[in-house]
């Protein structure tokens, strides 16, 4: 009874706190306006953890939208499913003076499922609302309550997550029974939390205020390093039908293994026989694993179906064996069942996939980190990693989707934090060699051979699976030269430890070299003109390069009869902390030789080095566009 009263009181306070006149836009502190498209005037997120089985989330927010680009911050998206129900919502939209334009209720919201095209089924739905207001600024004020019937996956507080939103005031309060043990993690706080204990209730209050908007800068480190973040989970949580006590990732991994994975790996007897038969001649475990991986790639395909324990529980190996499809969880689990037959140990690993490298939060075990599952084979000499949702990639290759980051292996003994392999920058290689004959009319005829490796492996890897018509279109995008014709294209795959793919082409380019009076003009760098990066006046964030690489281009042109084989040799070398550029041209034996090398080094560099980075890119780009004049022989 008392607890109920307490939370009602808070609710009451919040509702009256947002007095309309105070929300007039002129009351926004002036220092919060620059770079802001919206300003959070007042935001309070309250999590009332009543028990492991019930968390009441109450959010009250008043946000002023300053211009069109801020419109999306006025949208309200309320997600719900079997374990999260929307209890109430009310709100209103105010004009710049704080006068009410319209009132909001749940009936104004549209309701839809949130499965995307690639997903067969997911049990989440969303109720959404977006206002359509013509005059800026305007303010949307609302309060809603969602009741969660679990306590593992509950909202975080990240008041300044978006760069272009300033925050006048934001507050995060969570309360729990005094005896309940909580795990709390906070990052980049500007103010210490207030912790209150009574015999009825324990409460934490975090506050942030007066946070200006920031400019979004390219090549910035992950926002977790700089923005405010608070996470809370009860030590003992309840999730769908499961309950567990988790202190760290070791416990979490153990829980996943025991409650979600165990007993899902039995294959039907017939399938076991088939697997045994497949590997009967293989000698080493690596060989067996390779055969089984190929078998899995041929037998299954990726279909996303998210049911069961909030999308965390895989379908059984038997299910995949029968239907030949599954999502990442089901396919990894199925691959494990195949390896079981061969007696090869393997770990089910949770990873945050994406080109940007994001680690699991080592200090805080939770179910929100990670969006993908991969498989780790802990061979003594050479730990091998398998991506199980791709029918084509070579055995043991992860590519830039899951490379070089901390993941959680869920094993019988508990969770283990592992790092996926890193491809050093020199292995992320694209090496191209071209040899052309310049014909009388200025057309080029010759060969273009390219090797792709490491994170650049899949630049052209998938080309080989395209039909000739589609391949031709794709190549025209990849080799963006007018009038280019690909006469013969061949791919050869080399499945080394780091796989490579080689592309061999015969190419014809009509009228590439143009004639002007007594000379012919050629731009020898046909395929690798580098881009530039935004020219920032000031730089605040450090410069972060997520992944390094090396591009090497060598082009040789046989000169036509009618030009003088004289060109002043040129060389350009640019060295910078984060990269290297080299270009050489010279004429030798009636041939024009062009060499280009561009390297970028992974790392974090101080903010002031952005100017150097910018200069490197700019100079490289203009050097890339260099042109040469070949003098035409005059009849004498």
């Amino acid at each position: 009874m008392n607890r109920l009263l307490y939370s009602t009181l808070i609710f009451f306070c919040l509702s009256t706190a947002f007095a309309q006149q105070e929300l007039a836009s002129e009351n926004i502190p002036k220092n919060l306006l620059p770079r802001a498209n919206a300003v959070v005037r007042n935001q309070v997120t309250q999590l009332d953890i009543k028990s492991e089985k019930e968390v009441v989330e109450t959010v009250s927010e008043a946000i002023t939208i300053l211009n069109k680009r801020g419109d999306s911050y006025a949208d309200i998206d309320l997600y719900y499913n079997k374990s999260a129900s929307i209890k109430s919502l009310k709100g209103e939209i105010l004009n710049e003076h704080g006068t009410v334009l319209q009132k909001l209720a749940l009936k104004n919201f549209s309701d839809r499922s949130i499965t995307d095209d690639g997903t067969m089924f997911a049990d989440y739905r969303v109720k959404t609302y977006s206002p359509n207001i013509i005059e800026y600024p305007y303010t949307i004020v609302y309060t809603y309550e969602i009741v969660h019937k679990q306590s593992l996956s509950i909202p975080y507080w990240r008041p300044n997550y978006y760069d272009d939103v300033a925050v006048e005031k934001s507050k995060f309060i969570f309360t729990s029974p005094p005896a309940m043990e909580l795990r709390v993690e906070s990052k980049n706080l500007s103010k210490e939390p207030k912790i209150e204990n009574s015999d009825k209730l324990k409460s934490y209050t975090f506050e942030a205020e007066n946070l200006p908007a920031r400019k979004t800068e390219p090549f910035s480190p992950n926002s977790d390093l700089t923005s405010i973040l608070v996470k809370v989970i009860p030590k003992t949580f309840f999730y769908y039908s499961k309950q567990s006590t988790v202190n760290d990732w070791n416990d979490f991994g153990k829980w996943v293994y025991d409650d979600l994975l165990k007993d899902k790996r039995q294959l039907p007897a017939k399938a076991v026989e088939e697997v045994k038969n497949l590997i009967k001649d293989a000698k080493t475990d690596q060989e067996k694993a390779q055969i089984l991986y190929r078998y899995m790639q041929n037998k299954t395909r990726y279909i996303s179906v998210q049911i069961g324990i909030g999308g965390l529980e895989p379908f059984s190996a038997q299910y995949v064996d029968q239907l030949s499809y599954g999502d990442c969880k089901a396919l990894v689990n199925y691959m494990q069942s195949l390896l079981d037959v061969a007696g090869i140990p393997s770990y089910y690993c949770i990873v945050e996939a994406g080109s940007r490298k994001i680690d699991l939060d080592v200090n805080f075990a939770n179910a929100m980190d990670g969006n993908h599952i991969i498989l780790c084979l802990p061979f003594e000499q050479d730990t091998t990693w398998l991506e199980c949702t791709n029918n084509k990639i070579p055995y043991g290759f992860l590519g830039d989707f899951t490379d070089d980051r901390l993941v959680l292996a869920c094993t019988e003994e508990g969770g283990k934090i592992l790092r996926t392999p890193k491809y050093p920058h020199e292995d992320n290689l694209q090496k191209r060699t071209s040899h052309f004959k310049i014909l009388e009319d200025g057309s080029l005829k010759g060969t273009v051979n390219t090797l792709f490796m490491g994170s650049q492996f899949d630049n052209h890897f998938y080309n080989q699976f395209l039909s000739p018509t589609e391949l031709n279109k794709r190549l025209k995008d990849q080799y963006d030269v007018d009038n280019i014709v690909f006469e013969k294209v061949k791919y050869s795959l080399n499945e080394n430890m780091i796989p490579t793919i080689e592309e061999n082409m015969d190419v014809f380019i009509k009228s590439y070299v143009v004639k002007s009076q007594n000379s012919k003009i050629i731009l020898p760098n046909l395929f690798s003109v580098g881009g530039t990066i935004p020219d920032l006046k000031e730089r605040i964030n450090p410069v972060y390069i997520n992944r390094g690489f090396v591009d090497i281009d060598t082009l040789i042109f046989d000169l036509p009869e009618d030009v003088l084989p004289i060109v002043k040799p040129e060389q350009k070398i640019i060295k910078a902390p984060m990269g290297y550029y080299e270009m050489n041209t010279l004429v030798k034996d009636n041939q024009l030789h062009y060499y280009r090398r561009f390297e970028l080094f992974q790392g974090t560099y101080p903010p002031e080095s952005y100017a150097t980075f910018n200069q490197l890119m700019k100079d490289a780009s203009s050097s890339d566009k260099g042109r040469y004049k070949l003098s035409v022989k005059t009849a004498e």
Partner: protein
């Protein structure tokens, strides 16, 4: 007018027949279907496809329903074709009831060791998703898919939509060897049937079915129409084309009339004059145009009686445009109505443009609503009125004999111009309850961008001077929208500065951003780093004066083109560059002047230069003089742009004078 029809009738139980499979049993021989001659590059192919629709009274639904039986066999040729084993069937809410599916079953065939093995799609593998208020999805994927698998799908769909009967789509994104559709239409229903697309039917039959339809206790004969199309190529979308729907081979239906057998005759699709009358008497269309009183208090604040008609029209247009915000909904009815739209300050296309038309009428301007279909939505049927083809409305104002097409849904659109989405061949002007007519939807203003530089080359290798961009037509609309995305001019300047890496913008001036009738211009005072090093000591320098917005990519680079290019408007792009050279240099070599044109001046290109008194002037113009180019002209355009790209590679050479 309602798009759907709901019948309340005496219900008489009818036994519905279970579906029969039209397929011959598959065997190892037919498993390897020969598709090479149709499309040797296909990833998946429809081997056979059968559809059959009829109209029947369904007791459980208390109404007349369309019953559609569908059967298909698809060969999955390779991994790229695996996606064709995934299905999402949308089920729409028509009136108060949803379409639904009965008897869905599927089978996967694989050839294993010379034997055909089958696996069934089970109920558990079918997911029903309530996507939104009006759409449900039935989603499933076939089990055991391998390269070479054949899948077979059967289902029956029951729909309350009798108005559109069941459109049959012959062509899809994978090729089809055989597609057959049978429509059984009871004698008391009359439909307009349209065959769309370039392919001729392989076979077409019709037959009379005696007493096939039982309704109100009476039996009616049906005509059974059979349409067969074989060897249908896959449809591939191309750049700069109108909606694929215009070209995809299909059979479409629209209900003309229905007789209830008791003397009642209901007309649905009519002649244009019927549609005109209905629209103008409809409370959500013509009814709104009468609500001129809503502007009674507003007009005196906008216009004076002595203003010209044109001034009045512009004032009303600007008022509606600034007062109402488009909510991104289409449609030509004003569901909210003029009064409510003016109050809530937002609305659909119908709400906004009918409010505009009403305001113009209130101001005494001769105004008519124009129905149209957006580019995305496809071209409307031009033979007879298919009202459901339209999804947009604009206003036509006639002032001093001039016609103005007006759309108030885009804030930065000038008076008398249309946004690209509304430019889709013809619109239908509803003049009166008795007359309407087609009118071409075109912008009179050419989309134009001018890049102009006037300045000097300094010995340090930098160009300094004035760089101006000017925009008209759709180019101006796009540019104004881009500028207005930024909270302030300073932020826009910052965006420009960051993007133009070799350039320092010392000053920016934006002219006529809000004065839509005038040329928009962006004036920059710049320093452009043309040469990385100082040129003071160079004996010879080569420069390309077209240093901004040069054409480097050919927009028309296909080897094969099947559909016309539709640009939406004529286009013009110009460069005017004037550079005062350092006095130490004189011209040695310059590109030849060029002038070329496509047949009938469909496109034209001019490149001219001169060097006098140490001033280099270069002028380049590209004119695309047509909105629409046919397939043959595509290759002319390709060659045209290819030559432009070559011309723009050329440089001017200067040598240092002997001292």
């Amino acid at each position: 007018m309602a798009k759907y029809i709901v019948f309340f009738i005496l219900l008489i139980p009818v036994l519905s027949l279970a579906q029969e499979s039209p397929f011959k049993p598959l065997n190892a021989g037919t498993y390897h279907v020969n598709y090479q001659s149709l499309d040797s590059q296909a990833n998946a192919i429809v081997m056979e496809e059968y559809g059959k629709s009829r109209i029947e009274v369904i007791e459980a639904d208390r109404g007349v329903r369309l019953i559609h039986d569908y059967h298909v066999r698809i060969k999955i040729i390779n991994q790229e074709g695996f996606g064709k084993a995934n299905f999402t069937l949308p089920l729409y809410k028509i009136g108060d009831s949803f379409e639904y599916i009965q008897d869905l079953n599927g089978l996967t065939y694989n050839l294993e060791n010379g034997k055909l093995v089958t696996k069934e799609l089970t109920k558990k593998q079918i997911f029903n998703e309530k996507y939104s208020e009006r759409v449900q999805l039935s989603k499933f994927t076939f089990p055991d898919i391998k390269e070479g698998s054949v899948i077979e799908l059967h289902y029956r769909l029951i729909s309350p939509d009798l108005f559109n009967y069941r459109q049959w789509q012959f062509q899809d994104d994978i090729p089809k060897l055989h597609s057959q559709y049978i429509a059984e239409i009871p004698g008391n229903y009359t439909y307009n049937v349209t065959l769309v697309g370039p392919y001729k039917l392989t076979d077409q039959k019709s037959k009379l079915l005696k007493e096939c339809f039982l309704f109100n206790g009476m039996r009616t004969d049906c005509s059974q129409l059979t349409y067969v199309l074989k060897d249908i190529p896959a449809f591939v979308e191309e750049d700069y084309m109108l909606a694929p729907k215009n070209y995809l081979s299909a059979i479409q239906f629209e209900l003309v009339s229905f007789q209830d057998g008791r003397g009642g005759n209901y007309k649905y699709t009519k002649e244009w004059k019927d549609v005109d009358r209905e629209l103008l008497t409809d409370k959500e269309f013509g009814g709104q145009l009468k609500k001129t009183d809503e502007f009674k208090d507003i007009l005196p604040t906008l216009i004076k009686p002595e203003d010209t008609q044109l001034a009045k029209a512009k004032a009303v247009y600007n008022y509606v445009k600034n007062q109402l915000k488009w909510n991104n909904m289409y449609g030509f009815y004003s569901r909210a109505g003029v009064e409510e739209s003016l109050k809530s300050r937002s609305g659909s296309i119908g709400d906004i443009n009918l409010t505009l038309a009403t305001g113009l009428l209130a101001a005494g301007i001769e105004t008519y609503p124009v129905l149209l279909s957006t580019r995305q939505n496809g071209l409307p049927n031009s033979l007879h009125p298919v009202i459901s083809d339209f999804n947009y409305v604009i206003a036509l104002a006639i002032i001093d004999g001039e016609q103005y097409l007006l759309d108030a849904s885009e804030k930065y659109l000038p008076f008398g111009e249309l946004p690209l989405r509304a430019i889709n061949h013809n619109g239908r002007v509803v003049y009166s309850k008795k007359s309407s007519d087609w009118l071409p939807m075109v912008n009179t203003t050419v989309s134009k961008t001018i890049n102009a530089f006037n300045g000097q080359l300094n010995l340090d290798g930098n160009l300094t001077g004035q760089l101006n961009f000017e925009y008209a037509g759709l180019d101006a609309l796009n540019k104004r929208n881009e500028i207005k995305k930024y909270a302030s001019d300073e932020e826009y300047l910052e965006f420009l500065q960051e993007r133009m890496t070799n350039m320092t913008i010392n000053k920016m001036e934006l002219i006529n951003v809000d004065d839509l009738d005038k040329l928009l211009s962006v004036k920059l005072e710049i320093t452009y780093n043309l040469f990385t090093d100082s040129i003071g000591n160079s004996k010879e320098i080569n420069l390309n004066p077209l240093f901004v917005n040069r054409t480097t990519k050919n927009p028309f680079n296909l080897d094969e083109r099947n559909y016309p290019v539709d640009l939406g408007s004529q286009k013009e792009e110009s460069h005017i560059v004037i550079i005062k050279m350092p006095k130490e240099y004189s011209l040695k070599d310059k590109p030849k002047d060029v002038s070329m044109a496509l047949p009938e001046k469909a496109a034209r290109y001019v490149y001219q230069s001169s060097f006098t008194a140490n001033v280099l002037s270069v002028k380049q113009n590209i004119y695309l003089n047509k909105n629409i180019y046919n397939v043959d002209e595509y290759f002319h355009l390709k060659e045209f742009f290819s030559r432009i790209i070559q011309q723009q590679k050329l440089e001017f050479s200067f040598t240092k004078n002997n001292e």
